[in-house]
């Protein structure tokens, strides 16, 4: 699951800036944390956020799919080849500081991916556009951000259609590694060229509909932004700033 999932959870109803600030706070906080315990607390916070948005299961599944290969790499790099002292885990002799480092780095990746996916799943691109329009953000920037949020689901949908079409024409996806690599061409090329052709036409369509006028757009239905939400966003910013201050103070001490 990568993309917006309609729902009525508190995160879905929140102002889009709030959900994006939450994801941003997880991102920056992850780099401020240096201990495995605090990083994994952040992972739990990310999971709690996904649960609040009603998207824990799909977000966690995708986050694990993204994180697991990175964990494996970190385990090999730091756990097996890390510095002494070492601890015996079954037949393996692992580096204790290396494992701690791998847990920090792996936890960071998991927390960031989880936070990002949760924000993606609960932030309606339409509400985000309306919120940004209401703040007077130029349409070019609004479109860039909103398109970034929608590009992955659109590409997934298109890839599925191309896959079906190519399989109907006899494309076989199984077999040896070279055969699988050969099958990538008929999938990737229509995906890329088709997307480029559609972007060309969409640029024309958006231009005709006044998107490039450069003037201030009229917001149609801007989402309400409450004082508690504004306070939450400022609170998160201060928290992240405090976390970095704590990190740098400890580094100097």
């Amino acid at each position: 699951m990568i993309g917006y999932v309609a729902g009525r959870s508190p995160l879905h109803r929140a102002h889009p800036y709030t959900t994006l600030t939450l994801a941003g706070a997880v991102l920056f906080a992850a780099f401020a944390m240096t201990e495995p315990a605090t990083v994994w607390l952040l992972v739990l916070a990310g999971a709690a956020l996904a649960a609040t948005g009603g998207v824990l299961r799909p977000s966690a599944r995708t986050a694990l799919a993204v994180s697991l290969p990175i964990w494996a790499l970190l385990f090999v790099l730091y756990g097996l080849m890390g510095a002494d002292p070492r601890v015996a885990v079954g037949p393996l002799s692992l580096s204790a500081p290396g494992i701690a480092r791998a847990l920090v780095l792996g936890g960071r990746v998991t927390a960031i991916v989880l936070g990002f996916l949760t924000a993606l799943a609960t932030t309606s691109p339409h509400r985000l556009v309306e919120a940004m329009t209401a703040r007077g953000v130029p349409f070019g920037r609004t479109f860039l951000l909103a398109s970034t949020l929608t590009v992955l689901p659109r590409m997934q949908e298109r890839a599925a259609r191309i896959l079906e079409a190519q399989q109907c024409r006899g494309l076989r996806l199984g077999g040896s590694v070279p055969a699988r690599l050969r099958a990538l061409g008929p999938l990737a090329l229509p995906l890329i060229f088709g997307a480029l052709a559609e972007v060309d036409e969409q640029v024309l369509a958006l231009d005709v509909r006044g998107a490039a006028t450069g003037g201030r757009r009229t917001p149609l239905d801007p989402p309400p932004d409450t004082r508690p939400q504004q306070a939450l966003r400022w609170g998160l910013l201060l928290l992240v700033a405090a976390a970095y201050a704590w990190k740098f103070w400890r580094m100097r001490a």
Partner: protein
Amino acid sequence: MTPRLALAGVTFTHPGADRAALRGVSLELTAGEIAMVAGAAGAGASTLLLVATGLAPRLVGGTLAGSRTIGARRCGIVFARPWTQLTGLCSTVEDEVAFGPASLGRPLAEVRAAASHAIRQLGIAHLAGRDPAHLSGGELQRVVVAAILALGPELLALDDPAAELDPAAADALYALVPSLAADGMTILIATPDVERAARVATRALVLEQGTVVADGRPADVLPVTEVGSLARAAGCPPPYPLDVPALLARIAPDAGGRAHDSSDAPPAGSGPDTGAIAR
């Protein structure tokens, strides 16, 4: 009256192309005129629409030679594929239609009024609250047309607008065209659906390899054999909508028998009928 569009000897070449897509095209369109552009695939009809609306070469790239004056205050274009014309940013049809007027910074009440009027014109009021992402191709195309109409264009270019529509919806779309023209809109239609377009067009241009080879009333300039074969393929029993036999008797008496026989019907703009279609 100031023409909405005036082209004089316009030649346009797409970026990277070794030959021009339009060659020496001269054309003048006034308010309320409905011009259809007929021609085989690759004849340059879609390119003519891009040039007419000012999108080429401004956004498309390429080179334009000759004189072009766009008198229309606002131009709109509808392409064949509706899904590429959606913003992808609106969660309801109503907001999708309102996107254009909102982009122009018009007051909210005016934006909403323009959107509802366009939605009513296209007969899609029942879709107003639906998510555009969940509509069929035909429904989407009507949403796209409504979105363009909401902008109040003075020049509307329709590039095969009924490609995604079922016959009834295509008929409904073409039926709307004369009323738009009656309100003063200039309409330029490029489509292989010659039969439907010819019913509403007041003028027809036939393009061959980027050159206008015929320009006049549809009944006078269209390749009659093409109309006949299209009508037959669509299952229309004679007499055909344009009364092809009568037309043939008037403009090409010796070709009357061939119009009913698709097996030896020459392609558009070629063969013995070419003389009949030239201005």
